[in-house]
């Protein structure tokens, strides 16, 4: 019971007044970043019953007569149909990793991920985009249905606060379910430490193949990179329970650091080569710095 209370207290502290002010500030900053640029709305290539003229095409049997351009018919006696660009809502999916490995760190990596997701969701809601939160670990763990408008931010907060600890990370299995359930394409922001024993590449490829515009935000703890370990220890994997006896020496630590660095760089390479945006941040860094980096990278705020 005490633990639950402590968790509850921690979560209420997660999205406090200060956090709200901070994301509001980020929203304003996001607006400034795009001042002077032509603010194109997101339009689908789908031509349908919008209000802005797009093109003509030949009439075919069965087309709606109301869209015939009679002026053109009067001048050229050709039946041409007026086409309009249809405006669509942008869907932003936040895929938040809630696996056991995300519970580690101080503050927890999951808490950091929640803050990042909440901040980006606020920006999205403010832009009248549809924001959907999809937590995952070995599978999808619930879903916040797509919402729009600033007023929905508290729903987002509540949903994020209630996210529970998951199990093992199996990104591919989870994303397979995700793409099956969400046919509307959009931006998929994957917030995770990407510590998946099965690998992350197949899962990310799945998003790419399904035409999701993918953002990868890798969260790690500095202590993972520089663990203060010494001597004879037994390493226990927090997700798989796998054990490894090891005698930690400075040399071994150096090698481990290189391996961790290599892991992160491999992920970055993978994302860049596949035209996915990639961001990496330690939990020790302020989350708003990360948000600004995302803005500057462009794409997220059109």
């Amino acid at each position: 019971m005490a633990k639950l209370k402590a968790t509850s207290a921690r979560q209420s502290e997660l999205f406090d007044e200060t956090f709200l002010k901070k994301i509001e500030y980020l929203y304003i900053v996001s607006k400034k970043i795009f001042v002077g640029r032509s603010r194109a709305e997101r339009k689908t290539r789908k031509v349908a019953s919008g209000i802005e003229f797009a093109d003509h095409r030949n009439y075919t049997a069965g087309d709606d007569f109301r869209y015939l351009d009679w002026n053109v018919f009067g001048r050229t006696e050709k039946l041409l149909l007026r086409l309009f660009e249809e405006e669509e809502d942008l869907y932003i999916y936040f895929l938040v990793d809630t696996s056991t490995s995300m519970q580690l760190g101080s503050p927890r990596k999951l808490d950091y991920a929640k803050k990042v997701a909440a901040a980006l969701a606020y920006i999205g809601l403010s832009n009248m985009d549809r924001v959907c939160i999809v937590p995952f670990n070995a599978q999808l763990a619930g879903r916040l249905p797509p919402s729009r408008g600033k007023g929905q931010i508290f729903k987002v907060f509540d949903f994020l606060q209630d996210l529970n600890e998951g199990k093992q990370t199996l990104m591919y299995e989870a994303f397979k379910s995700f793409v099956a359930q969400n046919k509307r394409r959009g931006i998929a922001v994957v917030i995770s430490d990407f510590y998946d024993p099965g690998g992350y590449d197949a899962a990310l490829n799945l998003l790419r193949y399904q035409k999701f515009e993918t953002y990868c935000i890798q969260i790690y703890d500095d202590l993972e990179l520089r663990p203060g370990l010494r001597g004879d220890i037994e390493l226990v994997d927090c997700e798989t329970g796998e054990r490894r006896s090891v005698t930690v020496t400075p040399k071994l630590l150096d090698r481990y650091r290189s391996a961790h660095q290599g892991f992160c760089e491999a992920l970055e390479d993978y994302c860049i080569k596949r035209n996915m945006l990639y961001f990496r941040t330690p939990i020790q860094m302020d989350f708003d710095d990360l948000i600004l980096r995302v803005f500057r990278a462009g794409g997220f705020i059109a």
Partner: protein
């Protein structure tokens, strides 16, 4: 190289044990610290290379093991305290003998009114403080016992200080010769031995004045030789021969100065023969001043009173002022004293202005008067007025007289008398005068208890425990004066018409013997006390002599274990053989200072106890015997210090002679040994022992191990 700490065998066993333990600990898989990590595959990638070098890791762990084995061996070596033999020869081995006898409690006005013992301890402390690190000392305290307060020789100054501070004077004499013998024995095979004796020198046990006129024939007994100093009078010192032959350096530091003392040198009490309710007290006071003094002698009863701090109310019986000549004694008798309690004490105080009594220990004496009980006696006689008269003479006897055919003595006897007697305590003594029974009809009475006390006068009959054969006109040949029955007994020219020769058995004591055989015999048998007089008193002229009541009183006293002789307290400084109730296996003794010695075993009805303090000692059965039938909850004994030798506190005029005197605290000059010189870089410039180097080495190795461990060289 010698090992002065634990023995080599023990050291090897400990080292082996530790090495084995370490080996087991290293062989056993260590329980590793568990660390939770988010992603072990990252570590797995790293450890692929690590496994390849595991043999090297094992070797490094082996190095760590060897390091710890080395540390263990060094620790054990330090415990063994190795000393090069040359090193051992450098220091002195000294036995400090400190006199803690009663005379050492004398206060010294010139030393700030400190006791002589305090002065001696101060000087001994100076010596200890001046010791070099190579010197070793054993401390012997000598009073009525010789005790080593340090166990063995030690160079630990703190231990010696503690032992010196614990010394207290006791109310005993000093067994100086035994102390010196112990010191000599302790110094056997030790290099540079010396004995330092701190004493006031008032021990005539060592010094004897030899009559100059007769000459002084030197006597040698049990390896002791005599040394003589002085011409008039010749003083003969009895010392262990090693001291005389100068094999052991001996120095005597005389403590104390001229001072005076008065003492109670004797304190006894006895009952009157005819009236045991009254007592006669004898007190002797001695003046050890070399001038006349006045002293006040107080005799008082100590009546138990819980409301007072001491537990006693002091009821003064009499105070007297005595005038004592120089070195003289004064005897005082207190006659016909009826005492209010069984605790009696005498105290003497100096009343001469300007003089001080330097020793208090001998100013008070105590005695405990045994409780008195009137004896109930049953005389079974066909009719003997002489016997009845002799018994009735004594007020301490309650006498019943019956004839042998009294129904009370037989089955189905007088019911009235039986009931009367049943309400009384059993008879203490039963006298069979010329009475005999056939084997089939022994006397039976509820008032006669077996075991008990029985006096057979002219015993006869098959049931009699004494078998006799008749003799005519026996002539008394010898009386055993040491037996209590024969005390003050005069049987010279006793005329006997006829008598009986008593057949004795093993354990019988013949008190009176005639030419023809034993005439009076005492026997202790199966808890009973039996006395047989082998003649009829009416057929002798004993009935006209005072010897008859005396013999009867003596016999009854012997039966009841009551003595008319002097009632004396135990003497301090001796092993006391304290009688205890029959069957009591162990007792507790609480001394006058409140300290309790528990579970002292008893042997043949006596407990052996060494008492060092004057006053009353409380005895009680040990816990496992508490509540035992016939054993009182508590009883007491008294102890006195009465030693003219110790009360004479005049210190020795000069030390006991020694061939080579060494001033206190001064160390002998060390001779340089060429063999030792080669080790000088180790020993001469430092005062450290090898064990200390071992400890330094251990610390160094630990530092190395710590460094290599934290640098991850040995993990």
């Amino acid at each position: 190289m010698k090992f002065m700490g634990i023995g080599l065998q023990s050291a090897m066993m400990i080292a082996g044990g530790f090495a084995l333990g370490l080996l087991i600990l290293y062989v056993l898989k260590l329980r590793r610290r568990r660390i939770t990590v988010p992603f072990t595959p990252l570590w797995s990638r790293v450890l692929i290379d690590k496994d390849a070098s595991s043999w090297f890791q094992r070797l490094k762990r082996l190095l760590s093991l060897l390091l710890w084995v080395l540390v263990t061996l060094l620790i054990v070596l330090a415990m063994a305290d190795p000393q090069p033999e040359q090193e051992l020869e450098r220091g002195t081995n000294t036995v400090l003998v400190i006199d803690t006898s009663a005379s050492m409690a004398t206060r010294e006005p010139l030393e700030g009114n400190r006791t002589r013992l305090a002065v001696a301890v101060g000087k001994a402390t100076e010596f200890v403080d001046a010791m070099s690190p190579h010197d070793k000392v054993m401390l012997l305290a000598v009073d009525g016992q010789v005790r080593s307060l340090t166990g063995d020789f030690t160079d630990d100054v703190a231990v010696l200080h503690e032992a010196l501070e614990s010394l207290q004077p006791s109310a005993t004499e000093a067994r100086m010769l035994e102390a010196l013998r112990t010191a000599v024995d302790s110094l056997t095979d030790r290099k540079r031995p010396q004995i330092l004796l701190f004493s006031d020198g008032a021990h005539s046990e060592l010094a004897r004045i030899v009559d100059a006129g007769e000459g002084a024939a030197p006597s040698t007994t049990e390896g002791e030789v005599n040394a003589r100093v002085g011409a008039e009078p010749t003083i003969e010192y009895v010392l262990p021969d090693k001291l005389i032959r100068d094999e052991i350096q001996f120095d005597h530091e005389v403590v104390g100065s001229e001072s005076g003392n008065i003492a109670i040198s004797g304190f006894n009490i006895r009952r009157y023969l005819s009236n045991k309710l009254d007592y006669e007290v004898y007190v002797q006071v001695r003046n050890f001043f070399n001038r006349p003094v006045f002293a006040e002698l107080t005799l008082y009863n100590l009546i138990p009173d819980e409301s007072t701090a001491t537990g006693f109310f002091y009821k003064i019986i009499e105070k007297r002022t005595l005038e004592l000549g120089p070195g003289s004694s004064e005897l005082r008798f207190y006659k016909n004293l009826a005492l209010a309690s069984d605790h009696l004490a005498a105290k003497v105080e100096l009343k001469t202005p300007g003089l001080a009594d330097a020793l208090d220990l001998d100013n008070e004496a105590f005695v405990l008067v045994p409780k008195f009980k009137q004896a109930r006696i049953l005389a079974i006689t066909p009719g003997n007025l002489f016997l009845e008269a002799a018994l009735l003479l004594n007020r301490n006897f309650e006498v019943d007289v019956m004839t042998p055919d009294d129904p009370f003595l037989h089955p189905g006897g007088s019911e009235e008398l039986r009931v009367t007697n049943l309400n009384k305590t059993p008879y203490d003594v039963v006298i069979f005068d010329n009475s005999f029974w056939d084997e089939d009809t022994p006397p039976i009475s509820p008032a006669i208890e077996v075991p008990g006390n029985f006096l057979y006068i002219n015993p006869k009959g098959a049931a009699s425990p004494f078998q006799v054969s008749n003799i005519d006109e026996p002539i008394i040949e010898r009386i055993d004066r040491k037996h209590p029955i024969a005390r003050w007994l005069v049987l010279k020219d006793l005329n006997l018409v006829r008598g009986s020769k008593i057949r004795t058995q093993s354990g019988d004591r013949v008190v009176v013997r005639s030419v023809d055989g034993p005439l009076v015999v005492a026997r202790r048998e199966a808890g009973s006390n039996l006395v047989a007089i082998g003649f009829s008193i009416v057929e002798s002229d004993l009935v006209f002599r005072v010897a008859l009541p005396v013999m009867l009183i003596n016999t009854v006293d012997w039966f009841l274990d009551e003595s008319n002789s002097l009632i004396q307290a135990y003497r301090t400084g001796q092993n006391w053989h304290v009688p205890v109730p029959v069957g009591l296996g162990a007792i507790n003794i609480k001394n006058p200072h409140g300290a309790i010695d528990k579970n002292l075993p008893t042997h043949e009805g006596k407990a052996v106890y060494y008492g060092a303090y004057t006053g009353f000692y409380a005895l009680s059965p040990a816990e496992e015997f508490a509540g035992m039938e016939g054993v009182p909850e508590q009883w007491e004994i008294a102890a006195n210090f009465s030693s003219a030798r110790e009360s004479d506190i005049t210190p020795a005029s000069k030390p006991i002679p020694s061939h080579e005197a060494v001033a206190v605290g001064e160390k002998p000059t060390e001779e340089k040994d060429p063999q030792l010189e080669q080790w000088s870089w180790v020993f001469n410039h430092t005062d450290y022992d090898i064990w200390l180097y071992c400890v330094f080495a251990v610390l160094g190795l630990l530092l190395l191990e710590w460094f290599t461990y934290h640098r991850r060289w040995t993990v």
